[in-house]
């Protein structure tokens, strides 16, 4: 006997929980699924909140870079630079050219390392564990160089107001010159593995499309914005340091989908390698830090004032808003983290797509939860 019944379908709430399979950190997505399709998604953040901004109000300026390193833990040099820039603006400091070039070299190397990690995580989300290994193999080489310079592979505490903490050792420049062809080859391997792979293109083409105007209205920045065709790169539009003297291209995407976000980052690695080569060729001698700054244990006191300093992080625009009322501790230190703002576009990007696409979209935004939660 045939039982006739009206099939009612319900929308299923599902928790892509804080213990995330991919390595974006602890992000919780509360999704409502209709079958396979996503109807609503709500990101829940705060699992990695460590109260960096509040803690900084109680720390001396020399201690704050330790906390800032741990914000975007993937690219630590890039976090310290805006902090140093903000302090330099208030103090009216001029950084010597060698210091500027060293900052550029180290931060661009960190950008390359961060994008290799993105490649690893993105490919891993797509299904290949191979891409994880390739990305991290290259990142390891760069981190060994960092160990040579600052003593640490990730949490450097090296960029200080006025320049960098100390000069690089002698073996650094030859080691970096020897490393650059290896990095070019590693980039070639990574591109061969995924960039033209039809399966990856099928997975990511036209997934998570966002137009340029919408991206700007959502506050996206960095490669995610440039993938939508918006020509916005702080190194060019608001140049700081010695970037005006260096020759590189801004990579733009056309479609604003996940594939373009991936492709823009891979091209940016090539551009960063060009920048590092040029900066190495032009590296001047001389001091690495403005002389006369109080060295520990003398305290650095900032004059009264407030300023907003921003730089182009691998993830976007990283800004530091510093309010100082005199003294050796900041009154207020606000961090504009790019991943936080990029994450706000996630519901808009994900709705209407399938569950498997959601993972690729999240991977293509390249969020680091340390920044999002601070």
């Amino acid at each position: 006997m045939l039982i006739k019944r009206e099939f009612e379908t319900v929308e299923m709430p599902i928790n892509v929980g804080p213990q995330h399979p991919s390595t974006h950190g602890v992000l919780r997505l509360v999704m409502t699924l209709d079958g396979e399709q996503i109807v609503k998604v709500d990101p829940v953040i705060g699992y990695l909140h460590r109260a960096v901004e509040k803690l900084s109000e109680n720390l001396r300026y020399q201690n704050i870079p330790h906390l800032f390193d741990r914000l975007d833990y993937v690219s630590a040099f890039n976090n310290e630079w805006p902090l140093a820039m903000a302090q330099e603006r208030l103090l009216g400091l001029e950084v010597p050219p060698r210091g500027e070039y060293l900052r550029v070299i180290l931060c661009e190397l960190n950008r390359i390392a961060s994008h290799f990690l993105f490649f690893g995580a993105f490919g891993h989300d797509a299904g290949t564990a191979t891409s994880w290994m390739y990305g991290f193999r290259e990142r390891e080489r760069i981190q060994r160089l960092f160990e040579m310079v600052s003593g640490y592979r990730m949490m450097h505490d090296f960029v200080v107001p006025g320049g960098v903490r100390e000069d690089v050792p002698e073996e650094f420049v030859p080691a970096l010159r020897a490393l650059l062809p290896v990095l070019w080859q590693g980039l070639g391997d990574c591109n061969n593995l995924l960039t033209e792979n039809e399966v990856l293109v099928t997975r990511t083409r036209d997934i998570g499309v966002i137009t340029g105007e919408e991206a700007i209205s959502y506050g996206l920045s960095g490669p995610s914005l440039r993938a939508s065709g918006v020509r916005e790169d702080l190194r060019l539009t608001e140049p700081y340091s010695v970037y005006p003297d260096l020759d590189f291209d801004v990579v733009l995407g056309q479609h604003g989908d996940s594939y373009d976000r991936y492709w823009v980052r891979m091209q940016e690695v090539a551009q960063s390698l060009r920048i590092v080569e040029q900066a190495l060729d032009r590296l001047p001698g001389g001091l690495v830090c403005t002389p006369g700054l109080p060295k520990y244990p003398k305290l650095l006191k900032l004059p009264v004032g407030e300023t907003y300093a921003r730089a182009e992080n691998p993830r976007g625009e990283f800004g530091v808003y510093l309010i100082s009322t005199g003294g050796d501790r900041p009154y207020r230190l606000k961090i504009r983290a790019p991943s936080f703002c990029n994450l706000m576009a996630l519901p808009r990007l994900m709705e209407g797509h399938y569950l498997a696409d959601a993972i690729m979209i999240l991977g293509s935004l390249d969020v680091v939860m340390g920044e999002v939660d601070r």
Partner: protein
């Protein structure tokens, strides 16, 4: 982008095949170790003054004051060797406890020390079952493999 069907897939297959015949980059720790860079920051170690026969550390507590995680506890005492005229230091360290569980290896203690009495060693392997066993006292801190101190040209042997 793709010149013929499945070109991208063939490229992926080719690059994986080519990587498979390369020498692995694995270092089989702990049987084989990667040499550390000279500036590598391990955990702090105290330095011994061979010429006089005592610590460089006078117990001035500057490092404890500037340690971001309050990992250091120092006290000082009058230096008996000073009374006999053997040492220029009037005070010498009495107790020095450094909690490796709290230390973040930030090197601030090394930077602020007026006497260059503390250095970052290359030691990092300190797993213990009880976190209280991570609090090292002055005797243990001495026996760390210190950086070759250019003043004393000394590398203390491991404990």
């Amino acid at each position: 982008m793709a010149t013929f069907p499945f070109a991208g897939v063939l490229k992926s297959l080719w690059v994986t095949l080519r990587t498979a015949v390369r020498k692995p980059v694995t270092v089989q720790y702990p049987t084989v170790r990667v040499p550390y860079a000279p500036r590598m920051r391990g955990f702090p170690a105290l330095i011994w003054d061979d010429a006089v026969g005592e610590h460089f550390c006078t117990g001035c507590q500057v490092c404890a004051r500037y340690c971001p995680t309050n990992a250091i506890f120092v006290t000082m005492k009058n230096n008996p060797l000073n009374q006999t005229g053997q040492s220029p230091r009037r005070k010498i360290v009495n107790q020095f406890y450094l909690d490796y569980g709290r230390c973040i290896q930030c090197k601030i203690c090394v930077d602020v020390c007026n006497f260059d009495a503390i250095e970052m060693s290359h030691e990092t392997e300190f797993s213990e079952w009880d976190k209280r066993a991570l609090i090292f006292d002055v005797r243990d801190l001495l026996h760390m493999e210190a950086l070759a101190n250019p003043r004393t040209k000394q590398v203390v042997t491991r404990r």
